[in-house]
């Protein structure tokens, strides 16, 4: 089995990616698809800012604007940010715990394809009669009122991609529990692995309420049910609760992996172990736990009554404490360290004040009585872009630069990286800082335009200019990716020189079986410990032997494709299209048929034989 190193044609490479179950290739798929959707969502953001740059603008119409903001929010959260963090989880986490693969390689691939087809389905709405237009929160009364199929695309698309995320989460959980290398105890796991773990647990418990909410919405819109129809006894508040029981943990699903990435960067570039490791772990778990108790802070103005509002206000504020623990631990990690300002470190440093600003406005929002003023204004828009862009997007950029060599074997250009950083950083603050004031001055969010003479004009213009800077930054980064890929200068296993965790102990990119021999982990920052002892690599924990690997499979693609097809049938059956029912059935047959095939066909995988491993020219593959 040494064919994997051969050069392949385009068709073969494509087939390889369509059928792969290798976590590193799936990571690349997530990175490409998530990156693509980030560009789409970013383009939508730019359209929003153009429309709002001046009062009474008619760059886009009112209805189209609502479609754009809905798709911007939905795309960014579900199709850009989450897949991008999934990319790093897939690329790095198994390496960090010294595993040869994830627990369920097949399910991993299935998760990706479900997400991908869900995202494509959602975005096809642009070409098939209009995108969803009820906001990314899709509150029930408006969503039921919305004409056309936009909201149906939302419901079905998110359902499909949501299932993908859910099984991805289960996969990571089992991987971390069962697949750790010898000596890798829980309290020796790198923090990114820990945040992956907690995030996956959040996914496991947060996505089912969303699934139920989407199912109910689908029944109401497509099959005549009355869950949210007040005239039939229904209740729209049910949707609000289900959405936010999911929605609030969702924001921690996004931010925790970001915290994880930064927790890797600070020690690497400060050459110092993470300060307060165990309290960092504790804080991560606590944030995850508290994340389920606070969802109603998005519903302070719904009219839940003062008792509920007061309880949820106080619970929300409590989350500031573990988050603060993290902030100070990061600062103290750098304190006394030897800090090198590489591109990833730029993003990490900028993250601290940016996220801090977003976090403290979050605590301001948590003050229920005051939130009656902030809610649904640009103050909230400013808050969540500060935490999401200043936290998650910064982390994605940081992670891209940090792990690019590990994923592709070549470095991104540092100068261009810093240019991207400064453009994006300046643009980011220019865009969103002023929005706090817009909100306080009385500008509601989700308005397609505003009248002159309300004092909103200048601030909106400033905000739009900022967005242009961000756009430039992104373009520089794309350029960076292209030129460095063309040059393709190969790097060794530890290109930053200060890698601490296991992933830096193996070649970049790693061989498809990751570790020729599983490494023996002797403590936190396993690779760093070995380096400090003067060793080149890890001590193996097992003799060289056959390695068991899973087979590639086309079935994940087919299963997801089936649901994608079925969704069209489900959606158009309300229009009494004759073909709708057959399409629905065919789609489901494809999915269930593939599942059936999967379950009746034994798949024991294959073995790489010891001899082949020895044959490998020994380029540091040792452990």
């Amino acid at each position: 089995m040494s064919t994997y190193a051969q050069k392949k044609g385009f068709g073969a490479t494509l087939w390889d990616f369509l059928t792969t179950v290798d976590h590193k290739k799936i990571a690349i798929l997530y990175l490409i698809a998530g990156g693509f959707f980030f560009l789409v969502g970013g383009l939508e953001a730019v359209f929003i800012r153009i429309q709002l740059a001046v009062p009474n603008n008619d760059f886009v119409s009112a209805g189209l604007f609502n479609e754009i903001i809905t798709m911007h929010g939905t795309t960014m959260i579900f199709l850009a940010a989450m897949p991008l963090v999934f990319a790093f989880m897939n690329a790095v986490m198994p390496l960090q715990i010294g595993a040869r693969d994830v627990a369920f390689p097949f399910v991993n691939a299935l998760g990706f394809w479900l997400f991908f087809f869900g995202g494509i389905f959602l975005n096809l709405s642009w070409f098939l009669g209009g995108a969803p237009d009820a906001g990314w929160t899709s509150y029930a009364s408006l969503a039921l009122h919305s004409k056309g199929h936009g909201v149906d695309f939302y419901v079905l698309g998110l359902q499909i991609s949501g299932i993908g995320t859910l099984i991805g989460g289960i996969n990571f959980l089992v991987t971390i529990i069962n697949m750790r290398a010898p000596g890798m105890t829980y309290m020796r796991m790198p923090l990114f692995t820990w945040t992956t773990f907690v995030t996956s647990a959040l996914i496991l418990f947060a996505f089912p309420p969303l699934t139920v909410g989407l199912v109910l919405m689908m029944f109401d819109r497509l099959f005549g049910a009355n869950f949210f129809d007040a005239t039939m006894g229904g209740n729209t508040i049910i949707w609000e609760h289900l959405f936010w029981i999911f929605g609030h943990p969702e924001v921690y699903i996004l931010i925790l992996p970001a915290f994880g990435i930064f927790s890797e960067i600070f020690p690497i570039f400060s050459r110092k172990r993470l300060f307060g490791y165990s309290s960092m772990v504790f804080a991560t778990v606590l944030i995850g736990f508290l994340g389920f108790m606070v969802w109603a802070h998005h519903m302070f103005t719904t009219g839940l009554g003062p008792v509920a509002n007061a309880i949820f206000a106080v619970a929300t504020m409590a989350i500031g404490v573990p988050t603060g623990i993290k902030i100070f631990n990061w600062l103290l990690t750098m304190w006394g360290g030897s800090v090198k300002f590489t591109t990833p470190m730029h993003w990490a440093m900028a993250f601290i004040p940016s996220f801090l600003a977003g976090g403290v406005t979050g605590v301001m929002l948590a003050s229920a009585a005051a939130d009656y003023q902030y809610h649904d204004t640009y103050f909230v828009v400013a808050h969540f872009h500060y935490v999401i862009v200043g936290g998650v997007v910064f982390a994605v950029f940081a992670g891209t630069h940090l792990y690019w060599p590990k994923m592709f074997g070549t470095m991104l250009n540092e100068v261009l990286g810093k240019i991207t950083f400064w453009l994006f950083f300046i643009g980011f603050h220019l865009t969103f800082f002023i929005q706090h004031f817009l909100g306080l001055w009385g500008m509601p969010r989700r308005v397609f335009t505003y009248l002159p003479g309300q004092g909103f004009d200048t601030a909106n213009m400033v905000s739009s200019i900022g967005a242009a800077f961000m756009g430039l930054g992104v373009i520089v980064m794309l350029y960076n990716i292209i030129i460095t890929s063309v040059k393709n200068v190969k790097v060794g296993n530890d290109p930053w020189g200060d890698g601490r965790t296991l992933e830096w102990a193996i070649p970049s990119p790693p061989p498809f079986y990751n570790f020729k021999q599983l490494p023996l982990v002797r403590g936190l920052d396993a690779y760093w410990l070995e380096k400090m002892d003067g060793k080149k690599g890890m001590t193996p924990a097992e003799p060289l032997g056959d390695i068991h690997m899973p087979n590639s499979s086309f079935l994940p693609f087919m299963m997801a494709l089936g649901l994608f097809i079925a969704a069209f049938g489900a959606m158009y059956h309300v229009n009494d299209k004759a073909w709708a029912l057959p399409v629905l059935i065919i789609g489901l047959l494809v999915t269930f048929g593939s599942m059936f095939l999967r379950s009746v066909r034994d798949d024991h995988g294959f073995h790489i034989h010891k001899e082949d491993l020895i044959d490998e020219d020994d380029k540091g593959v040792k452990a």
């Binding site: 009112a62 209805g63 237009d133 509150y139 408006l142 009122h145 007040a230 209740n235 729209t236 050459r271 110092k272 300060f275 307060g276 490791y277 309290s279 103005t301 719904t302 009219g303 509002n309 206000a313 106080v314 409590a318 500031g320 404490v321 603060g324 623990i325 902030i327 100070f328 600062l331 750098m334 304190w335 006394g336 360290g337 030897s338 800090v339 601290i352 801090l356 403290v360 406005t361 605590v363 301001m364 003050s367 229920a368 009585a369 005051a370 009656y372 003023q373 809610h375 649904d376 204004t377 004031f437 306080l440 001055w441 009385g442 509601p444 989700r446 009248l451 309300q454 004092g455 400090m532």
Partner: protein, 351 residues
């Protein structure tokens, strides 16, 4: 790092300048509170901002020290520190204290703003207004006074005004930024709260506050504005009496207007009432009540209040408020007819 420092300085100054120059417009900004509710909320904002600035300052100091002191200068490996219990206790305890300082007034204010007990009392003198939100206009019913008006809310100053909020179609949210708020109008229940309009500060704001719909409700969500006329109790009472006295639709003043009235009775009266008396059930109130239209501040909430804009509106409402419920519900009007309608409508003044 010089560049960074300089940039920070500039941004600091621009922020300061912003803060000093802009608290927004007095009729619209939450930073220019004009009543007890907004005051309470503004106090909470100030308190929380103060705490947050404190937190930011502490972090910023540490951050800057790191920037200047711990830059990599040589190849040494720093000491690998595990952590510090003392520090950990400090940065757990201090935030908890800060949050308590914020939590107590928050809870108190939350209960205070939700206290609507006077409106449920029997024989209570409290002024109650039923707000009904529609796509994309506001209906205001005064059940005690038995009158209905739309778009322009009229309230007395210096007393608590109680609101019952409900929506007739999709969810909206009722918000008067300078006076306080907001509360959603749901489709399945009545939400209640109160506001108070301060007389002195209402005067400073020109006695008219801007109100907004704060929940995405469709294409014209951005245009679902309303106005609030805050006047003294005496003037308010006079207005109520005047409204109550309009038992029959007002007679047109001129020949042209009379023609307009006739047109109106043919095409419009099915939806628009021109008497303020509260006879129709709320679900039958399909369009803004126009009895006092001549005194409105805006046409349809967003257009300037003059004949031209009024004609524009009737000519083609869709261009001004996409998705509104009036478009296409009445025959097309010629220029003359529009003039007549405009004359008639502009003459509809109760005082």
């Amino acid at each position: 790092m010089k560049r960074l420092a300089k940039w920070r300085l500039i941004s600091l100054f621009s922020i300061l300048a912003l803060v000093l120059s802009g608290c927004g417009e007095p009729y619209l900004s939450t930073l220019k509170p004009a009543g007890e509710v907004a005051d309470t909320q503004y106090d909470l904002m100030k308190l929380s901002t103060l705490i947050m600035v404190g937190v930011i300052v502490i972090v910023a100091i540490i951050f800057v020290l790191i920037l200047v002191r711990f830059k990599r200068r040589d190849d040494r490996i720093p000491k690998q520190v595990e952590g510090s219990h003392k520090l950990e206790i400090i940065w757990t305890a201090v935030p908890i204290l800060l949050l308590l300082i914020l939590a107590v007034p928050t809870v108190a204010a939350t209960f205070k703003l939700a206290d609507v007990s006077p409106m449920d009392k029997k024989n209570s003198k409290a002024l109650v207004i039923n707000v009904r939100s529609h796509l994309y206009w506001w209906d205001f019913e005064y059940p005690g006074q038995k009158i209905v008006t739309s778009q322009d809310l009229v309230v007395p100053t210096n007393e608590k005004v109680y609101f019952n909020l409900k929506s007739t179609d999709v969810k909206h949210s009722f918000w008067i930024p300078a006076v306080g708020g907001k509360l959603d109008t749901n489709t399945e229940n009545v939400n209640k709260f109160w506001l108070e309009f301060d007389d002195k500060r209402s005067n400073e704001a020109g006695n008219v506050f801007y109100g907004k719909c704060a929940e995405l409700c469709g294409p014209s969500h951005a245009l679902m504005d309303f106005k609030v006329k805050a006047i003294s109790r005496d003037k308010f009472d006079a207005w109520v009496t005047a409204m109550q006295n309009v038992k029959e639709p007002q007679k047109a003043q001129s020949a042209v207007a009379a023609q307009g009235q006739e047109l109106f009775n043919q095409s419009c009266i099915g939806c628009h009432a021109v008497t303020p008396s509260n006879k129709m059930p709320e679900t039958a109130r399909l369009a803004p009540n126009l009895s006092d239209f001549g005194n409105r501040t805006r046409v349809a909430g967003v257009l300037d209040h003059n004949k031209d804009e009024l004609k524009n509106w009737i000519r083609n409402p869709e261009t001004y408020k996409p998705g509104n419920m009036m478009t296409g519900k009445y025959p097309e009007m010629s220029e003359e007819q529009l003039d007549a309608l405009a004359d008639y409508l502009m003459g509809l003044k109760v005082q």
